[in-house]
């Protein structure tokens, strides 16, 4: 059992490594820890935003999506959406939003935990965190598509607006509104975390593989 655990955790850094040489172990530690921290911070920032512009809204309308909530001109956008039979934004991704904070926090902690795993298993712990932005975008696309294609056929403007899929990123046009969808700070942070994790795992492997091979 102890052997199996040791096989999972991998070798410790030999005590005889001089201080000047220890940075090679610290580099992946710093990269992975930074990634975990960035991911935690991202929970508190919006991941995505869509702005809608129309002549009668000179300041535009904006909706921001956080991992656990929707903010911005939600009431006004819902009010407009009811004309075309789109469901209220609050109904989208309810399960995802309920568990997102806990899930992303756990994933970030796993990434931090990978710092202490010096074998290949470290990758298994850290890679879920690397997938966060892609999972977010995939889920967003699913809901945009789900909402856009399932319009209430009895809505006031159902005859003039065909079902549509709003773009996940980039520009779109719906009735008199031009829309612009862009990543927001949270998604940038998550992407940065992804890059840091991949680079971090690379240096992690380079640092510890010789130790593992020595065993």
């Amino acid at each position: 059992m102890a052997n199996k655990l040791q096989g999972f955790f991998g070798p410790r850094i030999p005590a005889e490594v001089p201080e000047a040489e220890r940075w090679r172990y610290r580099l992946p530690t710093i990269l992975l820890a930074t990634a975990a921290i960035l991911l935690i911070i991202s929970i508190f920032t919006p991941y995505w935003r869509m702005t809608l512009n129309a002549p009668q809204y000179p300041k535009g309308l904006m909706v921001q999506i956080y991992v656990n909530r929707v903010e911005g001109d939600v009431a006004e956008i819902d009010g407009l959406n009811h004309y075309i039979g789109m469901r209220p934004l609050e109904e989208a991704g309810q399960v995802e939003r309920r568990f997102a904070i806990m899930a992303i926090s756990s994933i970030a902690l796993l990434t931090a935990a990978a710092i202490f795993i010096h074998t290949k298993w470290a990758a298994l712990l850290a890679l879920p965190a690397a997938s966060v932005p892609f999972v977010f975008l995939g889920d967003l696309y699913y809901w945009l598509r789900n909402f856009g294609l399932n319009l209430d056929p009895n809505a006031a403007l159902s005859s003039s607006i065909e079902p549509f899929v709003p773009p996940v990123l980039g520009t779109g046009i719906i009735a008199q509104f031009s829309t612009l969808a862009l990543p927001d700070w949270g998604l940038y942070l998550a992407f940065t975390a992804t890059v840091l994790i991949i680079v971090g795992l690379y240096f992690h492997r380079r640092a510890y593989k010789p130790l593992v091979d020595q065993q």
């Binding site: 940075w23 580099l27 009010g79 612009l180 862009l182 940065t192 890059v195 680079v199």
Partner: protein, 681 residues
Amino acid sequence: MNLFKKQNNFYRAGWITFLLVFALTAFFISCSDQQQEAAPAESDGGVSTGLPADASAIAAARNLTPDDIVAALKTYVPTGQHDDYIMFSSGGHAGQVFVIGLPSMRLLKTIGVFTPEPWQGWGYGSEETMAILNNGQADGEQTVMWGDTHHPALSETAGDYDGQYLFINDKAHARVAVIDLRDFETKQIIKNPIAINDHGGTFVTPDTDWVIEGGQYAAPLGWEYASLDEYAEDYRGMVTFWKFDRDSGRIDYDASFAMELPPYWQDLCDAGKRVSEGWVFCNSFNTEMATGGIESGEPPFEAGASQRDMDYLHVINMDKAIGVAAAGQTIEVNGFPVISLDTSVAEGLLYFIPEPKSPHGVDITPGGEYMVISGKLDPHTTVFSFEKIQAAIADGNFETDQYGVPILDFDAVLEAQIELGLGPLHTQFDDKGYAYTSLFLESTVARWALGGPYGEMHEEEDWSLVGKQSVHYNVGHIAAAEGDTVSPDGTYLVSLNKWAVDRFANVGPLLPQNFQLIDIGSPGEQMQLLYDMPIGVGEPHYAQIIKGDKLSPWEVYPEIGWDPGIQAVNPEAPMSGEEKVVRNGNEVEIWMTAVRSHFTPEHVEINQGDHVIWHITNVERAYDATHGFSLPGYNIQLSLEPGETATFEFDATEDGVFSYYCSEFCSALHLEMVGYLLVKP
């Protein structure tokens, strides 16, 4: 150990990683900057380098002079840009207040005050508005359905407009209204308990602690009867000091008081400021105490009230009067504390100064040093010195009128008299050491140079006429930009002309008034008439002009369920999802919401004879998403601005089917925003 041979590679790799992160960060920041830059599509706002090639052709075709072109350029405000100044004008006997932008002279809003106004749902069922209007009943029984607004007064802090509140009087019924400039709605109407009419209101003290309402046509105080034969004995003038509570935004009736004055007809007042703070000045006419009676062979008022060469400027030690009232040295008239004339004389609260007869306007210079009075039958404007007034009072050597009020010696308090022209009325000030006085008979506005501390600000001789600007026609009051504050702006002046005669296309025998915008920005003789604005509603008297950026009204009400009557959320307000109709015996209570483009509920079924209590909330949060609510047959018309809630009640005396609908064009499906009230016989 060969394990560490690749040390340099590791350093390099570390640097590359961090550079990569920085590069990513920089990229993301630049991306977000771009999206911010891309968002507002600003107009190109290029600096004009000259008139377009065809502009002179247009000018020629329209017979425009170079001055006309300059005037047009000075007043044109392109779409999307806002005016620099906002003018609050009395609405005269329309009973309203007009909000006008300067320099464009565009009417922005008419605020319903003393007269019901259907667009704002002012006085058409909404309990909040009905309660305010009914609070102004003259005798407690008859609902007064109009007013004669005369003199608006913006609230001040340290003598400067602060853009928070506006007050205005109703001359016809001696009432004072308070308008909250967060939502530009009337919040309070107070009926003066001792007077049947007023004129010398409203004016505020430099920090808006008090709102001044001076009387006009003398009558027995408290709306009592007395024969005109007993005029000198039983008829009285008055000035009322309304305590204003800025926190609640209301006049505190219980902390207010009045002063009994001789039965001269008090006219306009002004509050002292800076050096004269704590004093109030009101002028008067008919010190002859003429009682008219042309039908009996007596001199008519117009002659009887103009016999003496001098009337009396009332000089009131207001600070002292507040103390006397607080000490309870008052009599009660209709339950309202009044300082009697005897007490005023005994306590030294009231002094008179002879002033050229039949004046209109006593206007205090920005620093409070001088009181400017123009008797409209004397070609001079007369300037008294506050310092000299104080010296004369201290001197204590004066005659008295028949009521025992001390009369200061005219020559002892006179600072200057300037011959301006015929029919001088009302004076405003600028930032260049000039004063402006309207000349009613001449139809001009005179610019003249002040003396004393203002003498250094201009090149002209102190106390001298500088120039005149013709206006069209018969100017009453004038309003300069912040021109009655401690720091006038000296940019624009509006001449509030009583007659338009030939200025506009003939629209029948009842003509609009004419507001004329004048550029007073340059010193010397030069003033330029810029624009004529017809006022086809009522006859405005006075106006005040405030810098636009001092106003910060709400875009929408702060929260859903907002009751503008209390400026707070009403716990009774219907909310989305809580709409219901509840019957309790013969009483039916309805909780309704309005949102684009439907009311909930859309069917309301009741029985003839039911008493109906109906609450509606506009649950919108969007700028400009106002809904109306019109119920024909029961005289109900509401305006529900975003977030606003309102309640109305009625007895369902008429059976039938009544369609209620949204009367404000709210959306593409506005026509469909309708419901049925079904009243079963």
